[in-house]
C-alpha cells in the first residue's frame, strides 16, 4: 500500500520541491487555496507573459502528497500557454478520478500520481495545487489579481 501511494518520484518532489517559494517577482495573480477537510493550505503565485505561464511558485503547509503534487504540477505547467495549461489540469483531474491520462508525456512527473486515485481521501491532497493553478489562470483571465478558495473536490 505505501508503495502504491508513495512512489520514489513522489517522495523526491516532497523532499526537494521544485518552485516552492514565498514570493514571485512581478506576480500577476496570487491565490490562496485550502482544503478544510484535511487542513492543507497553499499559496500559489502566477506570472503570465505573452499568454504563457512564465512564472509559478507555491508555498504552504500540507502532506507529502499535496506538496509533491504541487511541485510536479509547476514543472508540467511552466512555459505552457494558459489555455493549454488548463487543458492539462483537466487531464490530471480526470486521472485522479480514475481515467487514464490523455497526455501522460505532458504531465511529466504528474503521471506518478495515478496510483493516488485508489486512495479517495488523498485525491483531494493531490488536486490542491492543480486546482489552485486552474483558479489562478481563471482569476488572471477575469482580470483580477487575488482569490481565496476553500475547497474539496
Amino acid at each position: 500500500m505505501m508503495e502504491d501511494l508513495y512512489q520514489e518520484i513522489i517522495l523526491d518532489h516532497y523532499r526537494k520541491p521544485h518552485n516552492r517559494a514565498p514570493s514571485l517577482v512581478d506576480e500577476d495573480v496570487h491565490v490562496h487555496h485550502s482544503n478544510p477537510l484535511c487542513g492543507d493550505e497553499m499559496d500559489l503565485r502566477l506570472r503570465v507573459v505573452d499568454d504563457r505561464v512564465d512564472g509559478l511558485v507555491f508555498d504552504g503547509e500540507g502532506c507529502s502528497i499535496s506538496q509533491a503534487a504541487a511541485s510536479a504540477m509547476t514543472d508540467a505547467v511552466i512555459g505552457r500557454e494558459v489555455k493549454d495549461a488548463l487543458d492539462l489540469v483537466e487531464d490530471f483531474r480526470r486521472m485522479m478520478h480514475g481515467d487514464d491520462p490523455a497526455r501522460p508525456d505532458d504531465l511529466l512527473d504528474g503521471v506518478a500520481f495515478q496510483g493516488v486515485a485508489k486512495f479517495p481521501v488523498r485525491v483531494k491532497c493531490a488536486l490542491l495545487g492543480w486546482m489552485a493553478v486552474r483558479d489562478a489562470i481563471q482569476t488572471y483571465e477575469r482580470g483580477a489579481s487575488a482569490h481565496t478558495v476553500n475547497h474539496e473536490e
Binding site: 478544510p36 476553500n150 474539496e152
Partner: protein
C-alpha cells in the same frame, strides 16, 4: 415470468416462523416489509469486516465503510432513476418530509401564500407542513376525493386557480386506500398555475411496488423509506433535483455537512453532504443498497405484475365474504396493494385481534391518516397489505379469520 413465491419466501427468515402452530401470514407490508437475508448479510459484512466510520479515514476499513455507504447512495439513485448528488439519506421518510418543510417551505412560504395537499396524506406528509403553516401563517388547501377514493382533479384545479399555491405535497400511493395518484399530471397542473411552485411527493408506498423514475415524474422532491422496501429500519431518503438542493439552506447541521467552521459561522459542504449531518447510517445504507439490488434483480415490472394479480384476487376474496366492504378503488389500474376493509358489526380492533390469533398479521387503526378517517367517517379500518412474498395461499387464512371474527363478535 411470474414470481416463484415458495422459493423466494425462503429468503425471508421471519416468514418461516409459526404462531401458535400456525403458518405466519404476513399482510402488513405497508407498515413495514420483511427483510431478505441478502440485506442482513450486507449489514453483517460491514459490522464484522469493515466496522469503522466513513469519510476522511486514511486506513482501509474507513475507505471500505465509505464505499459501502456511498455505494448505497449510488444504488438507490439508479433504482429511482435519479442523480446520486440529489439523494440525501435520512433516518426515515418522515425526516425526508421534515427536511423539505424546514429547508424549503419554512424558508420560502409566508402569510398570503398557499400550499396544496390532499385529504389522504399520511401524517408524515401532512403534519410537518401544517406545523410550518401554524408558525408562519400560510394557507393549506386540500384536494378532496371522488366517491371511489381518487383525488378530485376538478377540485385541484379550483384550488390552484388564484395562483397563490407555491408548494404541493402529495402521496404517490395511499397507504390506506391503495390509490395511485397521478403525480406527474398534478405537477404539471401546479406549475401551470404558478411556474415557481415546487412539488414534493411522498413515495413511501410507491417505491417498493412500482417502477419509479424520478426524472420522468418531473417533480422536485421524492421521499422514500428503507424499512418498507426490504431494507433495514433507520434509513430513508429524500431525492431532489440537485440544483434545488444546491440553492437550499441546510436543515440538520453539525459534522460532515460543513466546509469550514469558525467561531462565528460556517460554510456548507457540497450536496448531498450538506444535508447529512453527523455520522450517517452506514450499515443501513449498505443494507438498503442490497435491498434495491435485490429488487432490481427480481425486476420492478414483475413486482408490480405480482401485486396486480394478487391484489385483484384478494379484493375478490374479501368482497365475497358477507358483510365485508372495501374502502378505496377496486380498479387495479389506479391502485396498489394496500386494502382497507370493514367487517359489518365487528370493530377493526377485534378483526385484527382475531386474525392475529390465527397467525394472520394485518394492521388496524387510523394508519396515521386521521384527516382521511374523518372524511370517510371512520374511526379505524383493518388493512391487509401484501408484497412479493405473499401469494394466493395467504387468502384462505385471511378469509377464514374474518369469518371467525364475524361469527365470534357480530352481535
Amino acid at each position: 415470468m411470474t414470481i416463484d413465491v415458495p422459493t423466494l419466501r425462503k429468503e425471508f427468515p421471519t416468514l418461516s416462523r409459526e404462531l401458535d402452530g400456525q403458518r405466519l401470514v404476513y399482510l402488513d407490508s405497508a407498515a413495514s416489509s420483511q427483510t431478505p437475508t441478502a440485506v442482513l448479510d450486507a449489514m453483517d459484512h460491514f459490522y464484522r469486516w469493515s466496522r469503522s466510520n466513513v469519510h476522511r479515514g486514511v486506513y482501509p476499513l474507513a475507505e471500505e465503510a465509505t464505499d459501502l455507504y456511498e455505494g448505497g447512495r449510488t444504488k438507490l439513485a439508479s433504482f429511482l432513476d435519479a442523480d446520486p448528488r440529489g439523494v440525501v439519506f435520512t433516518k426515515n421518510a418522515t425526516e425526508a418530509c421534515n427536511l423539505v418543510a424546514y429547508s424549503w417551505v419554512r424558508r420560502n412560504l409566508r402569510e398570503g401564500d398557499a400550499m396544496l395537499s390532499t385529504v389522504m396524506e399520511h401524517h408524515a406528509n401532512h403534519v410537518p407542513f401544517t406545523y410550518a403553516a401554524r408558525d408562519l401563517g400560510f394557507e393549506v388547501r386540500h384536494i378532496t376525493l371522488t366517491d371511489d377514493g381518487q383525488l378530485d382533479l376538478d377540485v385541484a384545479r379550483r384550488l390552484l386557480a388564484d395562483g397563490k399555491v407555491r408548494f404541493l405535497a402529495v402521496g404517490h400511493v395511499s397507504n390506506v386506500l391503495g390509490t395511485i395518484n397521478p403525480v406527474a399530471e398534478l405537477a404539471r397542473m401546479v406549475r401551470e398555475a404558478n411556474p415557481d411552485a415546487l412539488v414534493h411527493v411522498d413515495g413511501t408506498q410507491a417505491a417498493p411496488h412500482l417502477p419509479v423514475s424520478f426524472r420522468d415524474l418531473g417533480v422536485d422532491f421524492y421521499a422514500v423509506t428503507g424499512h418498507k422496501m426490504l431494507g433495514p429500519t433507520g434509513i430513508g431518503a429524500l431525492v431532489a433535483r440537485p440544483e434545488l438542493l444546491d440553492a437550499m439552506d441546510p436543515f440538520l447541521s453539525g459534522g460532515d455537512m460543513i466546509r469550514d467552521v469558525t467561531l462565528e459561522g460556517s460554510t456548507w459542504n457540497d450536496i448531498p453532504h450538506k444535508f447529512e449531518a453527523g455520522t450517517p447510517m452506514i450499515a443501513e445504507a449498505a443494507g438498503l443498497g442490497a435491498a434495491v439490488d435485490w429488487l432490481t434483480d427480481l425486476g420492478m415490472t414483475r413486482v408490480r405484475e405480482h401485486e396486480v394479480a394478487l391484489t385483484a384476487a384478494m379484493i375478490e376474496a374479501l368482497t365475497s365474504i358477507e358483510g365485508v366492504t372495501i374502502h378505496g378503488p377496486t380498479d387495479m389500474a389506479v391502485r396498489g396493494g394496500a386494502i382497507s376493509f370493514a367487517v359489518e358489526g365487528v370493530h377493526p380492533h377485534d378483526v385484527g385481534a382475531m386474525l392475529g390469533s390465527k397467525g394472520v398479521c394485518v394492521r388496524v387503526g387510523h394508519h396515521c391518516t386521521k384527516p382521511l378517517m374523518r372524511c370517510l367517517k371512520l374511526n379505524a379500518t383493518a388493512r391487509a397489505s401484501s408484497y412479493i412474498y405473499n401469494d394466493v395461499d395467504d387468502l384462505e387464512p385471511l378469509v377464514d379469520g374474518i369469518e371467525a371474527a364475524r361469527s365470534f363478535f357480530a352481535r
